[in-house]
């Protein structure tokens, strides 16, 4: 499915279970129309990867994912020759076939092992390509990506240039743990995702756990937002607030008080020191019933 307008993009993402804000919808729309990769940056857990998945659902395209890590090289990202198979082939033919035929033969596509990038490009159907956590790789790897991202082609010395049959929708995510090179940034559209405001996060939580009461959901979101404002090692992500909502639902909790918070806090807080801090700062406020009493809007 091709998006025709920003509204349509937004509705499509909505339908795929992703509540996009204005700029997200706009950038996704532009990415599709201009055929440019999107660089998505933002703190961990704001739904960068989820955006790619939602796009794949909304457009009905297959998602090809390349998870980056330190030491990732082109043999694992682009392509590799299946030399074991090549050897077998030679041994089968060794006796009678001429050298020339064999040589032409063993560098055919049959012996090529496509890795995510190549398979995304050579796919018959357009795909969504997600290059996750690009900041985990080396700068050398980024340089290798440039050809793929700007021209959508891969040069294989023995075969020539493999050009994209269809245009993939490319998303790169980065947690900003290292500055990316200018060359890469120049080829991308830029999207900054931040933690959502109260109202939007409330919508997200309600979307995923419709059974949770309005009051509970609002209180939950307010607590999460408050926790994020504390100076924590790892602030809770959106996915974690949804998890928390589900957990509260399962436990049949009727209100979030200091006690409930203490017993279920580990769902949103993942560090020992953070646990203490939250229990101290937020727990107290819950006891005094300061959160949730003030309705916004």
């Amino acid at each position: 499915m091709e998006f025709q307008s920003i509204e349509e993009t937004r509705a499509g993402l909505d339908g795929a279970g992703y509540l996009a804000d204005e700029s997200t919808a706009l950038v996704c729309f532009l990415a599709q129309r201009l055929g440019k990769p999107v660089l998505v940056e933002g703190p961990a857990g704001v739904g960068k990867t989820e955006l790619a998945k939602a796009l794949s659902r909304a457009t009905g395209r297959e998602l090809v994912r390349l998870q980056c890590y330190e030491g990732l090289d082109e043999a694992k990202a682009l392509y590799e020759w299946n030399y074991k198979k090549q050897l077998l082939r030679i041994q089968v033919e060794a006796s009678d076939a001429g050298w020339r035929e064999v040589r032409d033969d063993i560098f055919g596509e049959e012996f090529l092992l496509p890795r995510p990038l190549l398979s995304a490009i050579s796919s018959e159907q357009p795909v969504v390509l997600l290059i996750d956590e690009i900041d985990k790789t080396d700068q050398e790897f980024e340089a290798m990506l440039l050809e793929v991202l700007s021209d959508f082609q891969v040069s294989i010395p023995e075969l020539g240039v493999v050009e994209a049959k269809t245009h993939p929708l490319v998303l790169l995510t980065s947690n900003n743990s290292r500055e990316l090179t200018e060359a890469l940034k120049r080829r991308c559209l830029y999207l900054w995702l931040d933690y959502p405001g109260v109202e939007r996060e409330l919508e997200i939580v309600r979307l995923h756990t419709p059974q949770l009461s309005e009051h509970m959901a609002r209180k939950l979101v307010e607590v999460v937002q408050m926790v994020r404002h504390l100076d924590l090692k790892k602030p809770p992500s959106i996915a974690e607030s949804v998890d928390w909502a589900r957990a509260l639902l399962l436990l049949g909790a009727e209100d979030i008080d200091a006690e409930t918070l203490r017993s279920t806090m580990s769902i949103i807080i993942k560090h020992r020191t953070d646990l203490d801090l939250v229990a101290e700062r937020v727990g107290v406020k819950l006891t005094d019933d300061l959160i949730g009493s003030r309705q916004v809007g």
Partner: protein
């Protein structure tokens, strides 16, 4: 006011988008001529120019992207227009912020200039409606509008205009826009929410919204001024007022990062020479097997893994005592940049004693975070506040003695002022001896070295190079200098 409000904003909006349809098709492909003087292309190029002046790297390819993007979105929506620009022109969050500021200023000025040329006036604010509102009612309305989670831009602007006219009746403006804005805010009794407050003040409004409102008031005041005087005030560079960043060093940060990237290359390629050439290379199985295809699967020729230059190991010691306060922000930004480029880097800060902060840099991404962490919890064991270099060398050697080897470089950032304590140059000599190379960057001009309690000379002879360094320019000099020095190796 409700009657006059929408009409005004509609008129303003029309003026903001000059000749969209006409200029648009000619833009893409870089032919602005057809756009004509009133077209969008020259305006956008001007905007790009202004962005560059503020230090944002806007390349031609980004501009072409922006034009292409603008073909796809409706221009009439200011919000979208701006988002499309920031998606294509801005490449970091900092860029986005900057773009937002410049965008507002630029298009505000562009609109006013156009209005002035065509002689359009909107009339004194508030008079058109014929509606009189007392201050209390206005106060209520504004507070309500600000407390609501979402409000339209136009409404806020109208409220700002009302506030200005109400304020005008109260007394004369000071003539200085910034002062007037604050007076209006106080007259209206608007307070921003205190983030740390235990009890929410019922009178306070969200900070963000308040700032937005103030922006509107400021713009409306400026517009009124322009209409009165009939001339545009000279555009001031952003840096002076709006751009006030949390730390002054942050804008240098980018420059420091650039230089440090060079440094990394220099150290990496040089280090190679000093390593044992004789060490036998490793066989690359994959390539050897592939090569063996030519010989029927019998590996006759061996292929070796290319000898990659190994990552240099870096030890950086940074003085953060009071005598180098002015330089320590710069030093920390150098450290911060180094951490971006080097994996094998251990950093230390010291005053009287030394403490390792590698972990802080790995955990904290932002420069502000790092500074705060170092100033706070990760802080130096600082008893007297006076540097004790002798003691620092002892402790440093103890900490890293086993790890220092000829591959490693030690960089000291400090002023070598010992406050009269024993410099223990012989310990420093042992550090320098174990490390491959030792450099010293001193934030004082060479002229001051060895005066007073500075004992630079005692350390200088053990270093491979000593440099004055308190600006990025000098840092660059340092990087170039160590390239010229070549692979120094003491025997």
């Amino acid at each position: 006011m409700t009657s006059s409000g929408p009409g005004k904003s509609a008129r303003r909006r029309r003026r903001q988008v000059p000749s969209v349809g006409r200029a648009n098709p000619a833009l893409y492909g870089g032919m602005p001529a057809a756009g004509g003087p009133g077209g969008m292309a020259p305006r956008l190029l001007e905007l790009a120019d202004e962005l560059r002046r503020e230090g944002m790297a806007v390349g031609t390819s980004e501009l072409l992207d922006a034009f292409a993007a603008l073909e796809e979105v409706e221009w009439t929506d200011r919000q979208r227009f701006r988002e499309a620009l920031s998606a294509t022109l801005a490449k970091s969050q900092e860029d986005r912020r900057l773009l937002g500021l410049v965008f507002d200023r630029f298009f505000f000025r562009a609109v006013e200039r156009e209005a002035m040329e065509r002689g359009i006036e909107e009339g004194a604010p508030g008079e058109g409606g014929g509606e009189r509102m007392d201050l209390d009612a206005l106060r209520e309305r504004i507070r309500d509008a600000l407390s609501a989670p979402q409000g339209s831009d136009g409404d806020l602007r109208d409220l700002a205009r009302l506030a200005i006219s109400a304020f005008g009746r109260q007394g004369e403006g000071s003539g200085v826009i910034g002062v007037d804005v604050q007076r209006i805010r106080r007259t209206l009794g608007l307070k921003g929410e205190q983030s740390g407050a235990e009890l929410p003040d019922p009178d306070s409004v969200p900070r963000e919204r308040l700032r937005e409102f103030e922006g509107h008031v400021r713009r409306e005041l400026e517009r009124a001024l322009i209409e009165r005087t009939g001339s545009l005030p000279p555009s001031r560079p952003l840096r002076d007022f709006d751009r006030a960043l949390p730390t002054g060093a942050a804008q240098d940060l980018a420059a420091v990062h650039r230089v440090v990237t060079q440094l990394r290359r220099r150290l990496a390629t040089q280090g190679r020479e000093t390593r044992g050439r004789s060490r036998s290379p490793a066989v690359d199985v994959r390539r050897t097997m592939r090569l063996s295809l030519q010989t029927g699967g019998v590996p006759i020729d061996l292929r070796y893994r290319p000898r990659r230059p190994r990552r240099p190991e870096l030890y950086v010691l940074c003085d953060v005592s009071t005598s180098v306060t002015s330089a320590s922000v710069f030093f920390l930004s150098v450290l911060h940049a180094l951490h971006d480029s080097f994996r094998k880097l251990r950093s230390f800060v010291f005053v009287e004693r030394i403490s390792e902060v590698t972990e802080v840099f790995e955990r904290e991404r932002s420069f502000e975070g790092v500074s705060r962490a170092i100033a706070g919890d990760a802080g130096v064991a600082d008893v007297s506040g006076y540097t004790d270099y002798g003691r620092v060398w002892h402790e440093f050697l103890e900490l890293v003695a086993d790890d220092l080897d000829p591959r490693s470089s030690v960089i000291v950032l400090g002023d070598a002022r010992t406050n009269g304590r024993e410099p223990h140059a012989e310990v420093f000599a042992r550090v320098a001896e174990r490390a491959g190379r030792t450099f010293w960057m001193n934030p004082e001009p060479r002229l001051y070295w060895n005066y007073g309690d500075s004992v630079m000379a005692a350390y200088e002879r053990y270093c491979d190079g000593v440099f004055e360094c308190w600006t990025t320019k000098q840092l660059e000099g340092f990087v170039n200098a160590i390239a010229d020095l070549g692979p120094v190796r003491k025997t």
